[in-house]
Amino acid sequence: MIILDIKNLTLEIESNGVLIKALDKVSLTIQENEIRALVGESGSGKSLIVRAISGALPPQWIVTADRLTWRGQNLVKMTRAQRQAIMRRDIAVIFQDPMAALDPSAKLKDQMLESVPSEFIEGRYSWQRYASRLSISHKILHKVGIQNIEACINKYPHELSADICQKFMIAMALVSQPTLLIADDPTRGMETNTKKQILALFTRLNKTRNLSILFVSHDLLAISAMAHSMTVLYCGQTVESGKMKAMRRRPLHPYTKALMDSAPSFSPDLKPKSMLVALDGTIPTLQHLPIGCRLGPRCPRAAKECVQMPIERSINQHTYRCHYPMHVESV
């Protein structure tokens, strides 16, 4: 069953009197019990999608969508209170950059205790309830793999390293036992061992608790290790989406191909110290977006048609938007 369904989500930002489409007809679905990866480089609007789902966008930004539903309920038309209720219990979000997302003026203990939902707390009197909160927090902190909890919990965020703060963020998100976890770049800057721990935790929760995960990142190695399906985003447009295995075996969009090539670990027969295949140029800024397919100017297969936005085509649930996909001989 589809739990989160996004169809043609468009987000417009006004800048100097011109409307800029920061997100252009993005479609994304998350099935129950699925780990979906959302891949894109910085500035591709990954975090904007996360914020659009969680409702954390400034009111002057215009969100339009054919569908933006949570279990059939329209998230856009919902009142604030209803939406907050869903965000509180069903969807949990781990925001990017833990140091910025945590409150610098409160100890981690207070922040952690505050995030425990009141339904889980047992006991009648305040000291019992406090003890109950504390034991729930300890359990979850232990689960995300924080060693010497006692030492960490009484500190302020700036006193700890970024990856421990990240683990606290994950713990705070998981404590409400959500159905969908949206993780915005949770493994950024982590070393390999810690990353593996976190990924193992996510996979375990996905298997035992039926947690669905939207894993937003550009770390392809981590994604390929755990995700079931993947959506690739470029400059606010979804370029390709499908099952992880199919996309790794045969990417259809030139951009996905370039992404896959950028990770040397994926090509075992690559000679050490040989040149990597890379697209020229860089991601355009929001003020200078090309028309049509936004990859156009950087794309090795671009042609005249590419100034028109390609329609969405699909082969076996593997959808892509490209005039000259990789399986078609280029002209």
């Binding site: 480089e41 910085s42 800057g189 593996k196 190695l221 370039a258 670990s265 110290k273 860089t282």
Partner: protein, 259 residues
């Protein structure tokens, strides 16, 4: 053949202060021995807090070592030869974007090391800056640009240009790829490989991205708790790591690959 850069028995103890107020766990780096040859790439990997960045800073001279020697072409460089070090060992800092001065243009940023370390005339300096800009694949116009006008990848290129401008023999880079997007990262990797082939640079870099380490490095050093626990050719290390902490890192990497 004498190695280009060799480090002998380098140690670092953090200075003790306020010990009675805040008891700190003693972290000691070293003693560390390592050497790098011309056109060789050395990667340093290890878990967090293993002293990788500190070692990089010690090599580049940003932090003074407690004891030990750093030899460049067989000549010891101590505190008195800081000029030789500044000219020959250059560093690319972590978060290279944040290490650029937002208040001055790229040109003056690149001009500064030349002004301070060489006797070139202004015209020659300008020429040198232009040369270096084209070397890292930037247009001459960027001389007048400021940091905020550049994208991530271009900022990375400027940071690299700043390291290259004095024609160094060794470049030390602290996580040069961490903050970069995949496509820009490939561009940077290609650029570094190209520069190394052209200029014969020795390149020491720290990275968490073991895929890139495996691709780029000739030799890899594994650090743990301030010690070098294993040092070997990259391919050998990745196929048969010996020390437990090296095994842990490489197995973690491989396990993510397999699935």
């Amino acid at each position: 053949m004498t190695p280009l850069l060799s480090i002998q028995q380098l140690t670092y103890n953090p200075p003790k202060r306020w010990e009675f107020l805040s008891p700190r766990s003693e972290f000691v780096l070293g003693p560390v021995d390592l050497h790098v040859h011309e056109s060789e790439t050395l990667a340093i990997i290890g878990s967090n807090d293993s002293g990788k960045s500190l070692l990089a800073k010690l090599i580049a001279g940003a932090v003074k070592p407690t004891s030990g020697e750093i030899l460049l072409n067989g000549q010891p460089i101590g505190t008195h030869q800081s000029k030789a070090r500044a000219n020959n060992i250059r560093m690319v800092f972590r978060h290279s974007a944040e290490s650029l001065n937002p208040g001055i243009s790229i040109g003056s940023m690149l001009d500064e090391p030349l002004r301070l370390n060489t006797q070139l005339s202004p015209a020659m300096r300008l020429e040198k800056v232009m040369q270096t800009l084209s070397l890292v694949g930037l247009m001459p116009d960027y001389y007048y640009f400021y940091k905020h006008m550049l994208s991530d990848g271009q900022q990375q290129r400027v940071a690299l240009a700043r390291a290259l401008i004095l024609d160094p023999q060794v470049i030390v880079a602290d996580e040069p790829f961490a903050a970069l997007d995949p496509s820009v990262r490939s561009q940077t990797v290609n650029l570094l490989l190209k520069l190394q082939a052209e200029l014969g640079l020795a390149f020491i870099f720290i990275s968490h991205n073991l895929g890139i380490v495996r691709h780029m490095a000739d030799r890899t050093i594994v650090m743990s708790n301030g010690q070098i626990v294993e040092s070997n050719l990259t391919q050998t290390l990745f196929t048969a790591p010996e020390h437990p902490s090296a095994q842990k890192l490489i197995h973690a990497h491989n396990s993510m690959l397999k699935l």
